[in-house]
């Protein structure tokens, strides 16, 4: 027996079924016992769980839990940073959503955590305004986008020297300027410098 049944060509407001038959799933809503579509797309009925979903053809680009986002730091406050999102899952986003991330990390995620706490660093020394960072959306609690920077592939992906403005090279424990030799502490992504974010860096100013 088939587990799903699919139909096409649905626009918002269209009557799909009634609550006695199915549960209202994604992109549907219940109005007076009727299940109606709230999006353009095709309906998909899970016959095992009796859930009616609509697969949206044109979903708006909004960060969801698990999405990988790239953006720049526009504010630092204590142990938190505010990130302006520019790419969602490698797709350019004009929405300009802000997200927040914690600057506390476990030691396993890139050498920080206990080590920088021992050295007496505060969060604001790990990142600077203007850094391009990659993060994963871990929560949408209280309607705010929370990013996690814990994994090795997350963290700073591009920045420039705050002393002379030249490019940095990744070194153990942080970044070193190719020109003036300035060393800066960062939670650096494992692939730092592999992708060029020069344009994105310039865009914020």
């Amino acid at each position: 027996m088939k587990k799903t049944r699919e139909t096409n060509k649905i626009i918002p407001g269209e009557l799909l079924s009634v609550i006695e038959e199915y549960d209202a799933g994604k992109n549907t809503y219940v109005d007076d016992g009727d299940i109606r579509s709230s999006a353009i797309g095709g309906s998909s009925i899970n016959l095992q769980d009796r859930i009616l979903n609509v697969k949206q053809k044109n979903p708006p680009m909004i960060p969801k839990i698990g999405d990988i986002v790239v953006g720049y730091i526009d504010m630092l406050f204590g142990n938190m940073i505010s990130v302006r999102i520019v790419y969602i899952n490698e797709k350019y986003s004009k929405s300009g959503f802000s997200a927040i991330a914690s600057t506390r990390f476990s030691a396993s995620s890139g050498g920080y955590g206990s080590s920088w706490r021992e050295r007496g660093y505060k969060g604001k020394y790990v990142f600077k305004v203007g850094d391009i960072i990659r993060g994963r959306v871990c929560s949408l609690l209280n309607s705010s986008i929370h990013l996690s920077l814990e994994d090795k592939d997350l963290g700073v992906v591009y920045t420039i020297c705050f002393s002379c403005g030249n490019e940095f090279t990744k070194v153990p424990g942080g970044l070193k300027c190719n020109f003036c030799g300035n060393f800066e502490d960062r939670k650096v992504s494992i692939d730092y410098g592999k992708q060029s974010f020069t344009q994105l860096y310039d865009m914020q100013f």
Binding site: N8, K9, I11, P12, G13, E14, L15, N27, Y29, D31, R36, S38, A39, I40, G41, Q56, K57, N58, P59, P60, I62, K94, S95, G96, F97, S98, N142, S143, S144
Partner: protein, 248 residues
């Protein structure tokens, strides 16, 4: 231009000044996705009205203090281009434009599921390129299609149409001349699937019977407009599939 002496809004055969019958709509054409940089857009030709609508969002709210923690903010801007009327219109927002922006927002709001996008904003820009009476209804029709094109979760599309009284007859879809010289004008916005009215305005006087007739006629017009809105969206999103099916 017309002379008031020669003006006949409705002749003895029930033919209106533009050749329509009392139950006829003007010709309507909607094109979806005309503004490249917008998240959703539509262009409507409603008789001689030509209106372009662009929707941006959901996006970050600026200024940030306007953001609502539990739902999205809907902002609507209705604007008439200086060249849209017979005599040049001052491009600054007039009292009428501010009012229409407000009523358009209020007519669209019930159709949107704004709680799905907390702390965000949806901006709707309605630009009238050519006006010939009923531009708020045409703007609402195009805005609703543009919102659906932007992928905003909606309860239903909003269709709008006006009805009015000229020469003691209730007529559908009043044009600019009938609006100015007629006895009453009633724009109505309606969600056809949910059978709910989201906007009802009345300029002029009607008896209870005339009011009911006028409202029913406007709703009939809205239902006809809905079919055109639906076709426009179907053409954009299922165009190829529909053509293949027709060929088969």
């Amino acid at each position: 231009m017309y002379s008031l002496k020669e003006l006949t809004l409705l002749d003895e055969n029930g033919i209106r000044s533009d050749g329509r019958g009392i139950n006829d709509l003007r010709s309507i054409k909607i094109t979806v996705g005309v503004v490249k940089n917008a998240d959703g857009s539509a262009f409507i030709e409603f008789g001689k009205n030509k209106i372009i609508v662009a929707v941006y969002g959901p996006r970050e709210v600026h200024p940030k203090h306007m953001a609502l923690p539990d739902r999205c903010v809907l902002r609507c801007r209705y604007h008439m281009s200086p060249f849209s009327t017979d005599t040049r219109k001052n491009p600054a927002p007039s009292r009428r434009e501010v009012e229409i922006s407000k009523v358009m927002r209020e007519s669209l709001e019930p159709s949107l599921i704004l709680s799905d996008y907390p702390r965000a904003v949806i901006d709707v820009f309605v630009e009238v390129l050519q006006a010939d009476g009923g531009s708020r209804c045409a703007g609402i029709n195009a805005a609703s299609v543009a919102l659906a094109d932007a992928g905003i979760n909606m309860r239903d599309l909003v269709s709008a149409c006006a009805a009015g009284r000229i020469a003691d007859n209730i007529v559908l879809d009043v044009n600019d001349l009938e609006d100015k010289e007629g006895d009453a004008d009633m724009p109505v916005a309606y969600m056809p699937n949910l059978e709910q009215v989201t906007l009802l305005q009345l300029d002029g006087k009607l008896t209870t019977t005339q009011f009911n007739e006028c409202l029913n006629k406007a709703i009939t017009g809205c239902k006809a407009v809905y079919e055109i809105q639906k076709d426009a969206l179907m053409k954009k999103y299922f165009g190829n599939e529909m053509e293949l099916k027709e060929e088969a």
